[in-house]
């Protein structure tokens, strides 16, 4: 990753597009940030959006590389649509993360502030890209059709995706199903975010236990081409649950996807029109599921049988 560092560091500090600057009544805020002694910065493009990050410690840029969205490219221009400001504290000082609207995170742990940046960045991209629909879901491919597992955080998506990859499926995402207007799902192949630790750990500590895991570490590979969806699984983890999936209707599958769609409220018409295409020719099931490795093989067989029956 560090070989990409020269691409990441820009000679000019990134700055927000003037049209996106905060209004005059809150100019003090940006003045304060703009007057901070920034040491380095980066501007990059992701899904057509220009994003900038400025830091007071150039060394932190190396750590940032692990948190940038998949497929990012350096931007030739320092003028950006979104500007993050990261102040790295020394010793016991807080690390602070801001965007143009104010403080986003304050923590003494560098990993924590980088995770917050990662989380906010993903959400902002998912909400801001105009021609793609971001649905919070795990995605793998099997026989050229995608298996989409919508679900919120801590619903077990990554664990199931990892088990599916180990069972032979191709990795697409453990974060977003990215749909185009034709209903095809595109890869969002960032390393899997595997959480470690016990379930009863306080929520505030969860992110401290996230370990990024490249798909190759699981013996798998990432997909590269957009696919139509073959199976939608609405599953909830339940310890010891037996695998007894039941069919759900296309409408119910659409609700399961919409329930995890970033722009469901912001652009419902856009979301509905794409999701209607997505669910129109898919197998959709729901189930309580036990251990991921027990479910993965059954799931792949289920899709395979459905594809044969519908071929």
């Amino acid at each position: 990753m560090s070989d990409r560092l020269p691409l990441l560091v820009t000679s000019n500090l990134p700055q927000l597009k003037p049209s996106l600057a905060p209004p005059s009544e809150s100019i003090t805020k940006t003045d304060n940030l703009d007057n901070f002694p920034w040491e380095a910065g980066t501007a990059f493009i992701s899904y057509g959006l220009q994003i900038g990050i400025r830091v007071n410690d150039p060394d932190v840029l190396i750590g940032l590389l692990d948190y940038l969205p998949p497929g990012w490219e350096p931007s030739p221009l320092p003028v950006v649509d979104k500007l993050y400001s990261l102040i790295v504290g020394s010793g016991n000082q807080y690390h602070l993360l801001y965007d143009e609207e104010g403080e986003l995170e304050r923590t003494t742990e560098l990993d924590g502030v980088l995770h917050a940046l990662d989380s906010h960045l993903r959400l902002w991209i998912g909400a801001s890209v105009q021609d793609l629909l971001f649905v919070h879901a795990g995605v793998v491919a099997w026989h050229n059709r995608a298996i989409v597992i919508p679900g919120r955080s801590f619903s077990g998506k990554t664990t199931l995706v990892a088990a599916l990859v180990k069972a032979g499926a191709t990795y697409y995402s453990d974060e977003y199903a990215v749909f185009d207007t034709n209903g095809l799902v595109h890869p969002y192949p960032r390393p899997l975010s595997v959480r470690q630790g016990k379930r009863d750990m306080p929520p505030a500590r969860w992110r401290d236990r996230i370990r990024t895991c490249p798909v190759t570490e699981l013996g798998g590979k990432s997909g590269t081409k957009p696919l139509s969806v073959g199976l939608i699984l609405s599953a909830q983890y339940q310890s010891g649950a037996q695998w007894h999936p039941s069919l759900i209707s296309p409408g119910e599958a659409l609700l399961a996807l919409l329930d995890n769609t970033i722009v469901a409220r912001i652009r419902p018409q856009f979301a509905l029109s794409i999701l209607a295409v997505v669910v129109s020719d898919t197998l959709a099931i729901q189930a309580k599921r036990g251990e991921a490795q027990d479910v993965a093989v059954a799931l792949l067989q289920q899709l395979e049988q459905w594809l044969i029956a519908n071929s």
Partner: protein, 186 residues
């Protein structure tokens, strides 16, 4: 009483024999199965519950002598539609013209199937559409959702007039991290 389907501030997406309705006032989404959709489409200001039951009776081709409480089923579905704010009003007299022009035929097989299911299961399923941050991943401490369109901007001054604060005690009481633990669901 003549139920009239609501038509304002709704986005409607037909999906085979189901109908998805997005309520822009409440940010809720409803999935109407074919039976509920058929009843809803019949609520056009022309039909009483009895009239709708007769329409369904003809469409379902229920054999003579078979005892089916269609009126009760329609009444229950209309109540369900009302509870989801999909019935706008009830009239005493039919309107001269249908108040909406969404009435359409459903496939008989889908109607029969939905009718059979409708006696046992809800005919409408519903969710509250998530706000961006709710549908996002990441730790629960993730702060406010991103600005996407043109939300109101805060005027609160930033807390950056000085270098990073050190007045609050650093978190030094955290127990040391143990080694690798079992992986759990994320």
């Amino acid at each position: 009483m003549i139920p009239v389907a609501r038509s304002k501030k709704l986005l409607i997406q037909e999906l085979g024999e189901e109908v998805i309705v997005y309520d822009q006032e409440r940010n809720t989404t409803h999935c109407l199965n074919s039976l509920a959709a058929r009843v809803w489409y019949c609520c056009d200001g022309q039909n009483t519950v009895e009239d709708i039951a007769k329409i369904l009776e003809e469409e379902l081709e229920i054999p003579l002598g078979e005892s089916v409480d269609l009126r009760g089923t329609v009444s229950r579905i209309v109540n369900e539609l009302e509870s989801f704010h999909l019935i706008e009003e009830y009239l005493l007299q039919p309107t001269n013209e249908p108040k909406i022009s969404r009435r359409r035929m459903m496939k008989k097989a889908a109607l029969v199937s939905a009718f059979a299911m409708g006696a046992l299961f809800p005919t409408i399923k519903s969710i509250v559409a998530p706000a961006p941050a709710m549908a996002s991943s990441g730790p629960p401490r993730t702060t406010r959702p991103p600005r996407t369109t043109e939300p109101p901007r805060t005027t609160r001054p930033p807390r950056t007039t000085e270098p990073p604060r050190t007045t609050r005690p650093p978190r030094t009481t955290r127990p040391p991290r143990p080694g690798r633990e079992e992986e759990t669901e994320d």
